[in-house]
Amino acid sequence: MQPSDMSAVDLVTAVRHGDLTALRATEAFLERIERLDGQINAFLSVDREGALRTAAAIDEKRKAGQPLGPLAGLPVAVKDALCTFDQPTTCASKMLAGFRPPYDAEVVARLRAADAVIVGKTNMDEFAMGGSNENSAFGPVHNPWDLTRAPGGSSGGSAACVAADMAPVAIGSDTGGSIRQPAGLCGITGLKPTYGRVSRRGLVAFASSLDQIGPMARSAADCALLLETIAGHDPGDATSLESPVPPYGADLDGPLEGVRIGRVPAHFGAGLDPEVAHAVEEAFAAFRAAGATIIDIDMPHADAGVATYYLVAPCEASSNLARYDGSHYGHRAQPGRLHPVEPGGHRAEPGRLHPAQPGRLHPAEPGGHRAEPGKGSGASGGGFESALVEMYCRSRAEGFGPEVKRRIMLGTYALSAGYYDAYYAKALKVRRLIRQDYLDAFEKVDLIGGPVSATAAFKLGEKSGDPLAMYLVDLYTVCTNLAGVGGISFPCGFTKGGLPIGFQLQAPALAEPLLLRATDRYQHLTDWHRRRPAIAARPR
């Protein structure tokens, strides 16, 4: 069996027993990246040399009889939203093109300490904002099941690289569905842990009360293996939870007798594709056959989830992204026409990454009056109030893409004087009602099941012209983040056209063991998760 066909659990076992070297495992996946990623674009950077060096060192360690970490020799792809001190970290944004963080994210440090081999950084929607990966400044990811379709987002590169066997496991992040939705559209398994279960230190912040890092893999068992390493308290993240980390992998494939799974009839409304509805109902039937009880429940405020999310997340984002001002790191605009470039000045990244400036940029004034760039001399003048403010405004205008700007603008508006109560404070109140729905539901059931997305993978370009249509893609996933609970998505069938369909389970805070056990049980009874796209099966 080729290393690229092996599960992550089998890979680390083989390396530990000496049946497979870390080097050979790493080479096998690097070869696949080289062969396939030209068509898929899942990686923003591949650290071939670093990965081979790490793998060789692990093999040396084993030969010398030194203890190996729990992920020894396991190639891992990491979403480019997590800081890596030895590889670029761009968040798929021109703002951070070429940026080298001075430190590793806590999750990356834990992966290295566990002797995992980081093969590269994966493509994503810019700053994790999007559900199709089309918002990447470095080109969209193509869904391995159909290259004309989106892989979902924002962790689309992580999902696609696992689906095409370019990595056995990947790290993603999920603010409103960014692990679960691409996992569903790419036919893999992705877990968004409880808020605070995994440290966010070194994850480029999008919406800090919603962001959570999680594993993406071909099965629940492989997700469990990865979660065991990355979960746990970190003094560097004040919101990370102190609860001990259970042995997720040891408690799999248990019986589901007595487990109560909630089904929300409102999920099966007019917007749900009939093929998706059918596959999801079949999955409920499979769980029932496995001994679980299916109970219809009501989530009365679920309909308000997307509107609530698209206030809370942009508000937090507008604050978090204020740090990109061209001062400390990231893109700085070249001085304008009236400000000649200083001989000693240098820029954070090569200028060729930036398209020619489309016309003059200038601050628009509330009165509708247009200022002449650089002309103003004071705070109340006609132009930017200072050269510093001009640098901020132009660096951000050049560095951020359209969706990121939209969300910064939306959040800034909703937080501005006169609108705060009507929008942000209102959304926080509805957020409490949404969380209460979950608390009430988990009095009656142990898990909540349902669709991940209303449709299978959509065509690239199909929704990119309509921001609101794209936001509605998040319908089934955003409430999990608003409530701070955990959720997992995994394949439960295929459309007639051969596209994977995802099923989602949600659980109370810290019930990851049950999420993983139920999914693992399902994956012992079905083989949807074993299907590979034609592109992955193609012989060398």
């Binding site: 940026f99 080298r100 963080p101 001075p102 409880t194 808020y195 605070g196 003094p235 004040a238 308000a304 509107a307 609530t308 698209y310 206030l311 001002d325 061209g326 001062s327 400390h328 893109h331 700085r332 070249q334 400000h339 200083e342 000693g344 000045g345 240098h346 954070a348 016309g359 003059r360 940029l361 601050p363 628009a364 509330p366 009165g367 509708g368 103003g376 001399s377 200072s386 050269a387 510093l388 405004c393 951000r396 205008a397 939209r406 910064i408 603008m409 939306l410 800034t412 909703a414 501005s416 929008y423 209102k426 959304a427 109140k429 509805v430 409490r432 009602l433 921001p467 609101l468 701070g484």
Partner: protein
């Protein structure tokens, strides 16, 4: 709910985003649509509901006020667009200096 071009221009300034004339037109149209959509929350009765800013009942975390190892000056400056080895360099705040 629709935003005026002036509203959007003001928000652009608050957000420190330079917007071209075309940007202003597009943004006014798109933000109006999105704000119209999120305004549906008005219809939900939230009388006596307290805002929820964080999903879990977390408490503020304090640590002992003891210096810990952190980034060196060189590390902190390594990605700066401009620096002098000690400080980040930015254009002048006062006056119309050309430094950038």
């Amino acid at each position: 709910m629709s935003l005026s071009r002036n509203d959007v221009a003001k928000v652009g300034l608050l957000a420190r985003l330079a917007l071209s004339e075309t940007d202003l037109d597009t943004m006014t149209r798109e933000l109006s649509t999105i704000v119209g959509f999120v305004s549906q929350l008005e219809q939900i009765d939230t009388t006596d509901v307290a805002p929820l800013a964080h999903p879990l009942d977390t408490q503020n975390v304090f640590r002992a006020d003891i210096p810990q190892p952190s980034l060196t000056t060189a590390q902190a400056l390594q990605s700066a667009p401009r620096h002098d080895g000690e400080c980040f360099l930015v254009p002048a705040v006062l006056g119309d200096s050309g430094a950038n």
